[in-house]
Symmetry: C2
Subunit: 596 residues, 2 copies
């Protein structure tokens, strides 16, 4: 049976020691979750993850969701009960404003908790995850009446939400979507069309499902400029606001997928379903992006969460499984063989995963704090700088952490040898579940294009310049510190490669946009390496301070080792990315289409 | 439905144009398969792969194998009929000596054919694949009587074979194995124990199954020096050599696996089953390695085969699926969007896969030719040099081609976006099937150790020095050729990195073996990059020659583009491998075990 232990101590190290969580106590919500409350919340979330969600993870994979002929969907055994515990514990509303029934706590806390719950049961946590995205969109673009009608019930978790974007012929290119909206004469619309890949589209866990649906109002302009967003509840509300008559939206089938079997991924058929416009006519894409951006950070977190639980299980197996002898002489001479953790190539795998997980966690929490500043600070300059950071890091967190999360789930599976390939140990499930995170909410190639094509040049490159300056200043400030030199030297080299790549793009992508596309994925990962490297440098700095102060724990010593590993063995990859970027698009685009 | 088209033209280009297949016509078997016959065989194999094997691939995944309470196993619908066609076509015996009923053709031809068949249906092809490994072991170590008793029937395919190594507590470390062999007084042995992960261990496709089983003769020394190899037929043979009484070996269960569902992976229980020693007492490991080495090349071929079919399907989808517009202006203005092959990041994926597949195919065929020379040449020096090459390249082909095959199956799946994650398009199956090749026949970490710990220093480094010299000479010879400069310059840089890494290992791994272990996987992949780069340089050279001669086809022009892509965008990775190797084992091994 797979194991899971929420890394609470590591989260606290990052938030309290490295990022100075207490410094944000002037922001709304933060004073309600000071360090003690924060720790208590994380401990409670850890229990929920370890004891309630995690034991159901295999069940969800094995049973999957079952659709009946009437379109209803049964979730795996125990899922509804676990969801009820989540709901009753008030977890859904953790960072939702109090006026809508939430607790108004920092998004940062929500993110920290989200990692644990997703590690424990990614498929199950997608039901509330999509609900939170839907809440965010309604809060950002809905009318006051819509907010009052839907958000409190969703915050309570008795209603859930979905996002309906994809159609059979369009996913990335939403401009082609065909779902129609025709005014029904009562201020509402009749929505008709087919949506596919709708996570949590139909299930038995909530009293109502609030679908947010992209559709084209009759006579709207072509392309993305003619798309509007609608609320389409599964059950229309009666005069008292309770679920009443069934709406004309039904789950036509559920997809057979590689993983996340516990989540019902539905084909949703809309047949003149009653829907209500949210936000402006033809302003649907903008409204949807509120959900998308929140969802992208959530998906990045899923990548991290899979990398973490896969790592933990690889560690556990590597300590238990005995096979062969250490190259430097027996380490367990009383046994027939040494535990495989003595073998360097096993260690290599564990260290790579660990180095990415710990830095990934720091990057997520740093960015979550920026999100809180962006949404809650009273200072406009602070808000703007934080929002710049959030926009810049969203594609990086989504793209890099999900690519690495999958890669590391595969790596952890490899530690198990043949035992990793059979379903019994659960490692295959981590791989199969992690795979989706690279695809949905904008495939990672789209994240890379968002970074290179939009975020980089936005506001004259303000966000990226601020990041370069912060990292550069950090290297400069710590240049004289001998204990920091092994880290800052490598970080600076990485930053130089990133800046060189950025300049190359500025000089070569304007006249020839294919050069940007050709560079995009490498640039995304190059940026990720530097951002994660910066997290390692800051963690190392904090650890050094504790050591100098005499207040260090083993956690701090271990951080220095892992930081060193990262800078010695991961950071050198920046050069290959730069080489590829500077090669340009020519050899990539030269073959005629029919040569393939 | 997934597509597949055997790359016959590419195989012929490599064999005839690049490797000079005709030059080997003096070797036994080659004269029976001159260029015309070779082409005819490949075309026939292509038909079998495309029309018989490939249509059953999805069926195999969906149905899997079913075990009944009596231990019998039913293979997926159509598998037996397809296997019968394979068998009746004489494919099993393609390169088996004529005296045992085979056709005695080159192993090279067998390898070329093997790629197609494995692409088309990897799970199905494992049944004959294991049989061929078993035949190789019996031919190398069996008595004349054993050869005559078993090999002709296996060559005919009416009997199949298996390899029984792994036990629940030992895989890599076979020294711990517990399966017992007790002399039965009739010259045979009673074999008792449990074996796991036995591919094709039980099924309904052949009249008998010849298990090759590693076991420890009562009183044998501990460790690997006490292991012997036994033949244990499912049905004991009667006086006429026909299957008679059932032997005491039974399939206890079949494993639920991530992929290759069409192959029955069995737990095999031996309860005083009658077995016959093959080769020397306690010489089992040596005998088993004959199978292993053959099997490792076969598994490398599986990696290539999965990368190839995944690539073909990604290409097909990328040409059909329309989504978004080209960054350099619409390419299909008559359509609502351009086919996604216009997008550089999609092209990048296709080009990476293509570059590895074509070079991987060349590396496999080059090595297969060396295997033929090693086994068939009359010249001892030639045999030795070829055998050196074979030993050196075996872990590289197994490790690198399976890592890349999996990586590229994932990459091809990514081209499909959400449609790749659902089972309908078959991309998930390629990923799940490809995954096993990194694990079995020695997990890739073991391949890396075999390379660094054994092959590198063998005979004073003779094999590796010969390879360095050949590649270095090629670069030198072509230095003045301007058309070759873009390729040889990058190849030389890669070779320099590989040589630097080799020197580093020589200087740092003797006193501290952990440095070898810590470097092993990076060294394996660094070596792979250079070996594949050498294949690209040779293919480019041939293509250039055709162009100069005026005999070029589009295939030759395309080779130059793909070669350029490889050297510009893949080869630069050698530097990161060298950096990691030279970092040594310290930061990797520094953490205390309980810090994990």
């Amino acid at each position: 049976m797979p194991i899971y232990k929420a890394p609470v101590a590591d989260t606290l190290f990052v938030l309290n020691d490295v990022l100075g969580y207490e410094r944000y106590s002037n922001l709304p919500g933060f004073s309600d979750a000071g360090p003690d409350v924060l720790e208590a919340i994380l401990e409670e979330a850890a229990k929920l993850a370890e004891n309630v969600m995690h034991p159901l993870n295999r069940v969800g994979d094995e049973e999957g969701c079952v659709r009946s002929a009437d379109g209803s969907v049964k979730t795996p055994k125990g899922f509804k009960q676990a969801y009820d515990q989540y709901r009753e514990g008030g977890w859904m509303g953790l960072s939702i404003p109090e006026e809508f029934g939430g607790q108004g706590l920092p998004y940062t806390v929500h993110s920290a908790v989200g990692e644990y719950l997703s590690s424990a049961n990614m498929a199950l946590m997608m039901y509330p995850g999509l609900t939170q995205g839907a809440i965010a969109a309604i809060l950002a673009h809905g009318s006051d009446e819509q907010k009052q009608t839907y958000v409190p019930k969703m915050t309570e978790g008795v209603w859930t939400g979905t996002m309906n974007l994809t159609e059979p012929h369009c996913g990335t290119d939403l401009g082609m979507l065909r779902t129609k909206a025709v005014p029904n004469g009562n201020g509402g619309y009749k929505i008709s069309g087919q949506k596919i890949f709708i996570s949590a589209g139909e299930h038995d866990m909530s009293e109502n499902i609030i679908h947010l649906v992209l559709a084209r109002i009759e006579g709207a302009p072509e392309g993305v400029k003619g798309i509007s967003l609608f609320i389409v509840p599964k059950f229309k509300l009666d005069a008292d606001g309770n679920p009443g008559e069934r709406n004309a939206v039904v789950c036509g089938s559920i997809e057979e997928k590689m993983g996340i079997h516990g989540n019902s991924t539905c084909v949703m058929n809309y047949d003149e379903a009653e829907g209500y416009l949210i936000g402006q006519e033809h302003g649907g894409l903008k409204a949807m992006f509120v959900m998308m951006n929140e969802a992208r950070l959530g998906v990045g977190l899923q990548g991290l969460s899979m990398g973490e639980i896969a790592y933990q299980n690889a560690v556990s197996y590597a300590k238990e499984r005995i096979q062969g002898r250490s190259l430097s002489g027996p380490k367990a001479p009383d046994k027939k063989a040494d535990p495989i953790i003595v073998h360097p190539d096993i260690r290599r795998k564990l260290m790579v995963m660990r180095a990415f997980n710990e830095a990934g966690r720091a990057l997520v929490l740093w960015t979550a704090l920026k999100s809180d500043v962006a949404h809650r600070s009273g200072d406009e300059a602070d808000r703007q700088a934080a929002d710049d950071h959030l926009g810049l890091m969203t594609p990086i967190i989504k793209g890099v952490l999900t690519d690495k999360g999958f890669e590391h789930a595969v790596m952890a599976q490899q530690v198990f040898g043949g035992h990793g390939y059979i379903e019994e140990h659960g490692m295959s499930q981590f791989v199969r579940d992690a795979r989706i995170a690279q695809i949905y909410e904008g495939a990672n190639g789209i994240q890379a294009l968002d970074l290179v094509g939009r975020k980089l040049a936005l506001n004259g490159g303000r966000a990226v310049q601020a990041f370069f300056k912060e990292v550069g200043d950090f290297c400069e400030e710590n240049r004289a510190d001998e204990t920091m030199a092994p880290f800052t030297k490598s970080l600076k080299k990485g930053l130089n490669d990133l800046q060189a790549a950025t300049i190359w793009l500025m000089q070569n992508a304007m006249q020839k946009p294919d050069n940007a596309g050709a560079a995009s994925t490498d640039y995304l990962h190059l940026f990720g390496l530097v951002a994660l490297g910066y997290m390692w440098a800051r963690m190392a700095k904090t650890a050094q301070e504790r050591i100098v102060e005499g207040t260090s724990r083993p956690l701090h010593e271990n951080k220095l080792v892992t930081a060193r590993y990262y800078f010695e063995r991961v950071m050198p990859e920046t050069a290959a990315h730069l080489a590829r970027i500077s090669a340009g698009a020519d050899s990539m685009m030269a073959l005629a289409e029919d040569a393939f």
